[in-house]
Chain length 200, copies 2
DNA sequence: GTCTATAAATGGATAGAC
DNA sequence: GTCTATCCATTTATAGAC
């Protein structure tokens, strides 16, 4: 009765089912602990169908990776739009990241915690990806406008977002007993006090 | 001429050679991209010798993991000893971690960036390990002594050390063009300004 | 486009000689 | 304690029917 139905999914719907299942298993067990056979079984599709839609296992992971990074990118861009101050933008980014961590833990686990270079050797390190570059740019903008102290950009960016990213790690590891939203204001305040230009 | 000599290593020296080689390959390619055969070839020993010293591949990784965490533990304990203030302790910890990242990048890569739960399923998340618990304790001590604002402990701990840990990530990813020591004072200052109790 | 069956290779682990 | 040779399970990927 709980057996997965076969033959019901075709085309794009099947492709999506494979992606969903792969994300679930990759985030739970890791890329290397998930075989094509596992995905086949859980998704209730055939090996041939998987290989019809994806060149190989790496291409499957690549597709997931790009999609999720794109979603983070959109979310961050949207969070920043309409805001002008560095603090407002940074707060909005952290709010969005915390929200995504709560709402889509599998996606964030896969993108933030996996070591993609081990199976996507041509991929740049995640700190060079678009969402992370945007975060750094927000801080550089804050330095140029005199809202943020004149710090080395990497130092300022990691000071602003490093604590938040670690809190996301802790949440994904199941260490925190409250949702991230509870800690959000304090996290933003600590980071901002560290880099803001004193209004003496 | 460059061929690895065989039969030269025995006993403890061979065991250590296997550990060194495994650490090198695990940190370069990852655990799952490193086969026993790879270790055998690079170390110049036999399969049988490896399995004489280690029950299996996981046990090899476990041994590395425990040794390196122990070294971090000792380094952090030593850094804190003789210091009483939260800022002094935190600065000493970050200094030591930065130094270890520069001096032993393979070890830090293996301990900080690998997803150990994928192959050491019984291992606690690294944030629960002794070195990380000590860092949190330093901050809790600072809160109790009134040096640090009354923040949720996880928030205060990630605010103090989150930026530094991300800088270590960046250095291990080859993104920074200066050694970590160059950024150290600024990293510590940013973090401390965020959590210190104002001396108004 | 999806299926089953299977090829081909890899890799963890063991056996038994030395 | 170390070696070589090999077993066996797993897994990626393909072939060919439907």
């Amino acid at each position: 009765m709980n057996a997965v139905q076969k033959n019901t999914l075709r085309g794009e719907a099947l492709r999506q089912k494979v992606l969903d299942t792969a994300l679930q298993l990759f985030s739970e067990r890791g890329f290397f602990n998930t075989s094509i056979h596992d995905i086949r079984k859980v998704a209730g599709v055939s090996t041939g169908a998987i290989y019809h839609h994806f060149k190989n296992k790496e291409a499957l992971a690549q597709s997931l990776y790009e999609t999720i990074l794109g979603q983070m990118d959109d979310a961050i861009a949207q969070a920043c739009s309409g805001k002008s101050g560095c603090l407002e933008k940074s707060r909005a980014i952290i709010e969005k990241l915390f929200l995504m961590t709560e709402q889509y833990p599998q996606q964030m686990q896969f993108v933030l915690l996996a070591q993609h270079r081990e199976y996507l050797p041509d991929e740049a390190p995640i700190c060079s990806s678009s969402p992370f570059r945007m975060m750094k740019q927000v801080i550089i903008g804050g330095i140029e406008k005199g809202e943020v102290r004149h710090l080395e950009p990497w130092v300022a960016a990691t000071a602003m977002f490093g604590g938040a990213l670690r809190m996301m790690n802790l949440q994904l590891d199941g260490v925190l007993d409250q949702p991230l939203s509870v800690y959000q204001d304090a996290v933003v305040e600590c980071a901002w006090l560290g880099i803001r230009k004193e209004q003496a």
